[in-house]
């Protein structure tokens, strides 16, 4: 039994123990984690104690909550009080947060059981999880391939059956792209839908927490559990929940679906991926949706704008790692030397690259040409999406340009790696939700992800369409 909905229902009724569920998952971790390396930390003792607590509640006639006994993995940039949170960086190695993230408190209140902290690209900067200071994660579908990134450990943990749900963070595709490459469902909610209190910041105008799951319904339940207003996050939008389950089961009859021409058939999209997206469009059409190709012209500039805006914000956010209040300190004769020694030893190459790029585009003389211009491009992308959503309820595109690539294939050329995110970045720049659903496989037999994009707060219709795609993929035998 792997469905979250089934696990929680059975545990709540006392038909299945949280202890038995967690032992199944820990047994899989014991067997396969040595090859996959999804985790920076497996919390076996904590998970067993917590499962016993959940079972105790059921025995006393109390309801542990909507995720009773569900094993959940957390990306290692989500703060857990008393449990190390490293961001896969030497600069935070061994750091123990003094508080829980809001998503952690909400999952705990819903009866979830945490199994571990997952590996990631350092500070969420990367698309393959190869930028981790603690070594790469491997794709459970093919150990010679990357799981995608930056939330590669979370995607791999769900794909390998180590956890039923995992949380990741998505700044330019860091949930959706690894979900596509590992063959699981991954969701980037509307900006502000999920509290970021206790999420270590990368690029604050783009970052959003979201779930991974093996099914659309499980992802919807997880999102509804963690979403909703939080006064501890000033960017949190005033809403009770994402209402991700509201339209499930309704089908897509009469819905209008636009296939984004600039992304679906773009240069750089592999022919096998493009073919699956055409089939996904046909499947929606067969299910009664009105499907047409449409144009969102400014998304072509998304990658360039993103690689100015995200590093600019990162250079500011990561200034806090100075060896004073937490984390690594390397000695220096005065405070400036201490800063330089600490940061040079603590950050890996990709993080240094982005900090320098961000510092450069914000520096005097270049601000208007790079950063200012990128912010204007961001406005154009938002306007073009608004225009498209006048004619369509949702938009469709590939999630990633290719299936999972070999480890080491893109590490020497950062720009090639950045191109992995061309289809996912526009939603972050606009603040809109998007979901990746497995839809068949490529010529190499590895999973392809179809991306459903929706306007702000469009989670109900987004999940509605995603569920139909999932059923169509299962009917074709290519999905799971």
């Amino acid at each position: 039994m792997t469905s979250v909905v089934e696990i929680a229902a059975a545990v709540r009724r006392g038909e299945l123990s949280a202890a038995a569920i967690i032992e199944q998952h820990l047994a899989r971790i014991d067997k396969d984690e040595v090859d996959i390396h999804a985790f920076n930390l497996v919390m076996a003792d904590h998970a067993r104690a917590r499962a016993a607590e959940v079972d105790g509640m059921v025995a006393r006639g109390e309801d542990p909550g909507a995720l009773a006994g569900v094993p959940v993995a957390l990306k290692d940039l989500i703060c857990t009080r008393g449990t190390p949170t490293t961001c896969s960086s030497r600069i935070l190695e061994g750091w123990v947060p003094p508080y829980d993230a809001t998503v952690v408190s909400r999952l705990t209140a819903a009866g979830a059981v945490f199994v571990g902290k997952t590996n990631m690209d350092e500070f969420a900067m990367g698309s393959s999880t190869e930028n981790s200071a603690f070594g790469p994660t491997r794709n459970p579908r093919d150990l010679s391939r990357v799981p995608g990134g930056s939330s590669g450990g979370s995607a791999a943990a769900v794909a390998a059956g180590f956890a039923a749900i995992a949380l990741g963070s998505d700044t330019g595709g860091s949930i959706r792209q690894p979900a596509a490459l590992c063959g699981v469902v991954g969701v980037k909610p509307t900006y502000g839908m999920v509290s970021r209190y206790g999420l270590v910041a990368f690029a604050s105008s783009l970052d959003q927490i979201g779930p991974f799951a093996t099914s659309v319904a499980d992802a919807a339940l997880a999102l509804d559990t963690i979403s909703g207003h939080d006064e501890a996050d000033s960017t949190s939008i005033p809403t009770d929940s994402a209402r991700a389950r509201e339209n499930l089961g309704r089908g897509v009859d009469g819905l209008r679906v636009g296939v984004i021409a600039e992304l679906a058939g773009a240069e750089g999209i592999a022919p096998d991926v493009a073919a699956r997206i055409r089939e996904a469009a046909e499947a929606l059409s067969a299910a009664g949706a009105k499907v047409e190709e449409t144009s969102v012209p400014a998304v072509r500039y998304g990658l360039s704008a993103y690689y100015m805006i995200a590093p600019a914000e990162a250079s500011s956010n990561l200034a806090r790692y100075d060896g004073v209040r937490y984390g690594l300190r390397k000695p220096g004769a005065d405070i400036t030397e201490m800063y330089m020694a600490t940061r040079s030893a603590g950050f890996g190459p990709e993080v240094k690259r982005r900090i320098m790029l961000g510092t450069y585009v914000l520096s005097a003389g270049y601000y208007d040409a790079y950063y200012g211009k990128s912010q204007r491009v961001r406005t154009l992308i938002i306007r073009d999406f608004e225009e498209a959503y006048r004619s369509f309820d949702v938009l469709l595109s590939p999630t990633a340009p290719t299936t999972a690539f070999e480890l080491g294939a893109k590490t020497s050329d950062p720009l090639t790696m950045y191109l992995s995110d061309i289809c996912t970045i526009p939603s972050n720049l606009a603040g809109h939700p998007a979901i990746s659903v497995p839809f068949g496989t490529g010529d190499d037999g590895l999973p392809v992800g179809a991306q459903v994009l929706a306007p702000a707060a469009g989670e109900p219709v987004m999940f509605q369409v995603a569920e139909v795609l999932e059923a169509a993929a299962a009917a074709k035998g290519g999905g799971r």
Partner: protein
Amino acid sequence: MAQPLSKDDVAHVARLARLSLSSEELERYTTQLASVLEHAADIGALDIEGVPPTAHPFPLTNVFRQDVPRPCLDRDEVLSQAPEVEDDRFRIPRILGEAP
């Protein structure tokens, strides 16, 4: 758009960001950052002077919480994570020119 990126630019930016680079790193980062900036030249060519900038997808203004006292983080727990502490304060190396 702007001048091509030089090694001096990268060295300057590294110093601003409090990073020290070896000469081999300086060489490599100059090439890599130049290629990213070159890719971004596509937006440099756009004529979008009249378009307002977006700093944030949904600007919320005047976001306040209830003004009620509540416990803050536990001081000992916070200080336990600091590299160096003295008298319940963060200890840092000297910041002025005098002898330590």
